[in-house]
Symmetry: C2
Subunit: 508 residues, 2 copies
């Protein structure tokens, strides 16, 4: 009864022009002979192989109309890109092997500890496109909260570093920084890098896009210059001007991270273990030898208590040490937004004001950037405690940082003017009072509902800060949006949450 079947006849590839985002999807007619012979049905995972040696795994949607012919297989844009074939090319469909590493994910759900090899297999399968979005969601959730030990975070970080390219800058010290988000408008990086390069330090900075926040440094920098640089372009910029401000994703550092982040964004879950692995894997892959971690602490910031901050800091230091990375952690005030803008273009405007020594420049952003740059200087130079921030301030005041920033933007492809949003709504105070509370989380939500970071001009402009006295009729904040629908959406949310900016009758 042993049975050896012949290879199926191929189908013709058809690009459907359907954008399913990262998830590769194939389309087959219900009447297709392949559906019957292979027993495929909607949401089946399918292995599609080209004439060459390439293959992809994708999810199936069954077509019950005449969108395609029986002998065709339709490709979503992600599937088409991944397989890289020509229209009408022959494609063979079959069942993919079971994804073995999913048993490790289940094992993690059941509370077991995973080892280096298991994380390697998971990350390798994620990059190979073997995980559907529900599998990524399960992996993220299983690693959520404090479910990864420091050893597991180290193993996950290592696996993520190994999964992509790794830059060797061929210089002994490569400084880097990261802010553990959660504080709207806290966009110090472009200022810090300008200060450090002005001090003659070589600093090849790669940044990420937003995960659950209204803007990441890469989103903000993209409103000012080109950030999608190849590794070669980055090297050239760093050689020319001593530093860069590029998007990390475009140079394929820690590629698994980008796929994980996409689902984290949909879930609005950003777990501690994944956070550390994501941050440190990108730093190590980007060639960093020293990294400063900025953790803003405040009741509505991402890290809410000093205790939680110290726990997180300890994990960061432990994992970094295991991976031979010098790491310093700085706790900063996380009680209110930094600067005025929240959202890519609005934050870019604040950065320009600080660098240009504009009299109205937000002083909190300026001071924060100087403190961080100062700490980083002290990590790599033989200067006394407290000297760093003074040097940093001088670089800002003298215009040296601004000159460096312009040089970096020019080297990355030219400086742009950040866009301005066409639709706005101002929140007006109904009575006089003192600003007694600002809810960072809800404020971020307003900025995201308004369209940030996908719409670069969208976001929130803050007009007040904590303890400020206001009269009735004062504009507290302005929502900026690129579309009417999104403006309404953000305004609805604002109206439903009156506690985003709280006014009290007395000064605190």
């Amino acid at each position: 009864m042993n049975f050896i079947p012949e290879r199926m006849a191929p189908l013709k590839a058809r690009r459907m022009g359907i954008d399913t985002h990262h998830e590769p999807t194939l389309y087959l007619r219900a009447e297709s002979p392949v559906c019957r012979s292979e027993g495929f049905e909607s949401l089946s995972r399918i292995l599609a192989s080209s004439d060459g040696d390439k293959s992809i795994v994708a999810s199936l949607n069954i077509i019950t109309s005449d969108l395609i012919a029986d002998d065709e297989v339709g490709f979503s844009e992600a599937a088409w890109r991944r397989l890289g074939i020509e229209p009408d090319a022959p494609v063979w469909l079959s069942h993919p092997k079971p994804v073995q590493s999913l048993s490790h994910v289940r094992s993690k759900v059941y509370g077991h500890t995973l080892n280096q090899d298991q994380f390697r297999e998971i990350i390798s399968d994620i990059i190979a496109g073997q995980y559907a979005e529900v599998h990524l969601a399960a992996f993220i959730t299983a690693c959520g909260d404090e479910k990864l030990s420091d050893e597991e975070i180290t193993a996950l970080t290592q696996a993520m570093v190994e999964s992509g390219s790794r830059i060797d800058w061929q210089i002994p010290v490569v400084l880097d920084k990261h802010c553990v988000g959660g504080l709207p408008g806290n966009r110090t990086t472009p200022i810090v890098i300008s200060i450090l390069t002005a001090c003659g330090i070589t600093i090849p900075k790669t940044s990420s896009r937003a995960i659950t926040s209204p803007a990441g440094t890469a989103d903000t920098m993209e409103t000012l210059t080109e950030v999608s640089l190849s590794l070669e372009e980055m090297r050239q910029v760093v050689n020319d001007v001593g530093g860069c401000l590029a998007w990390g994703g475009s140079v394929k550092l820690s590629p698994a991270d980008d796929l994980i982040i996409q689902v984290e964004r949909a879930l609005d879950i950003d777990s501690e273990g994944q956070l550390i692995a994501s941050v440190l894997s990108k730093k190590i892959a980007a060639g960093a030898t020293h990294v400063l971690i900025d953790i803003p602490v405040g009741p509505t910031a991402k890290v809410r208590s000093q205790q939680a901050a110290e726990k997180l800091a300890t994990s960061f230091r432990t994992v970094a040490e295991q991976l031979n990375l010098k790491c310093r952690v700085l706790f900063t005030d996380g009680s209110q937004p930094v600067g005025r803008g929240i959202g890519p273009a609005l934050e870019a405007r604040d950065i320009l004001a600080v660098l240009q020594n504009h009299p109205d420049a937000p002083s909190d952003l300026r001071e924060r950037a100087a403190v961080i740059a100062g700490e980083m200087l002290e990590m790599v130079q033989e200067i006394g405690k407290g000297e760093g921030v003074k040097i940093a301030m001088k670089m800002l005041e003298s215009g040296a940082a601004w000159n460096k920033f312009m040089a970096i933007c020019a080297a990355q492809g030219g400086m742009k003017t950040p866009p301005i949003a066409p639709y706005r709504f101002a929140l007006i105070s109904k009575h006089p009072g003192y600003v007694s509370n600002i809810d960072n989380r809800k404020l971020s939500k307003v900025a995201k509902l308004a369209g940030a970071p996908a719409d670069p001009a969208a976001g929130v402009e803050m007009h007040v800060h904590l303890q400020q006295e206001v009269t009735a009729g004062t504009a507290l904040l302005t929502i900026h949006a690129e579309s009417v629908g999104e403006l309404n959406y953000a305004v609805d949310y604002l109206n439903e949450h009156q506690d985003i900016v709280t006014l009290s009758h007395k000064s605190l």
Copy 2:
């Protein structure tokens, strides 16, 4: 600067004929004015409203080809069904409100305890289609392992009961049973129900389809008769013949469960809390007053140790008591498959053999069914300990159970003959020996890879049992498949896992 927009012009509804399974999906041209004005992009969640009062939430795919026109919105089959409109009907698109209950899911990820109201909101949003598949995956994973307390399981069960219809049979005692899967081929329910109805007990049985196993009772019964009965049809059958064997899903009992199960299947995760809530919510909604839980225990069964079985039993009893359900738990041998067939039609054949008193009928299946029926009799009748199983055996031997089974099938729409698979592969022993181990999990996997339960004739036929002596050249098992691709897939897996049936040289 206050801004009140006009309602957008509607788009024309277009049924795409794309089956995305349960996940509703909408399709819009990249050039559609709605995309620009509302800031929609691929995977955005969208609220689509019809001229009437109906609306659905769906995920968006952006069309970059000419599959649809700029003023059209395409609907997947699930989206089309849910909104229930005519072709070219006007549809308005907007941003859905943020799904508040997702914050409860995140709270669970972070290890917090959820209360009754929070579970109610989650289940209500799931039923309303507010959760994308990644959200369901996160909820399932967050509740995985032992992350739900008995109080939380009770609250989840209650929320699931309230979410659907609930049957009142208007009789004082409604018996029910459930087997906590994990044991291939363990299909006692149709036999047990036949025995009990033959004893004059009214037993309106609803069963589910497989979650992670190769067959559920509903899948197996579907190869023998109609199982998709409306509530009215079920009542009629029970009135006519005293019992039924229907699929629970068709009467909308605990509808959230069906959506959760779909994603559990993709993840192959079936958590303890979700398991108890799923089982007990369906039993309560189906009107049960007494329920017997059968827990097979064995090293490769779903429950692997006596300790785990007792923990699960305690949770079942605690939750059932909170919900006023009488519950008895029975531990059974879970060391090897039951009967010969694994898969809907193959299991149906075993059931027929037992009921027909066929000399070759699998005696293990027969005895198991009698023990379970006996325990259930003792729950509701004034008979001595051990009397139940004797009565049950008599019902089988006399043919009374077989007569009842035929009557039930006739009442449900007529009896069918289970299908036979066209493609087969036999695993032959290479040397003589004794069967020392059978891996239930891997055996289930083989049956699923062969196509079960979606292909009813697919599965595995076992020819040996534990400790049986075999000669070289003995057929140990036969894989049955409805397609060549699936047969190959199962055979590949079999070849890669030589330990599915282990032969040792000595008797145990």
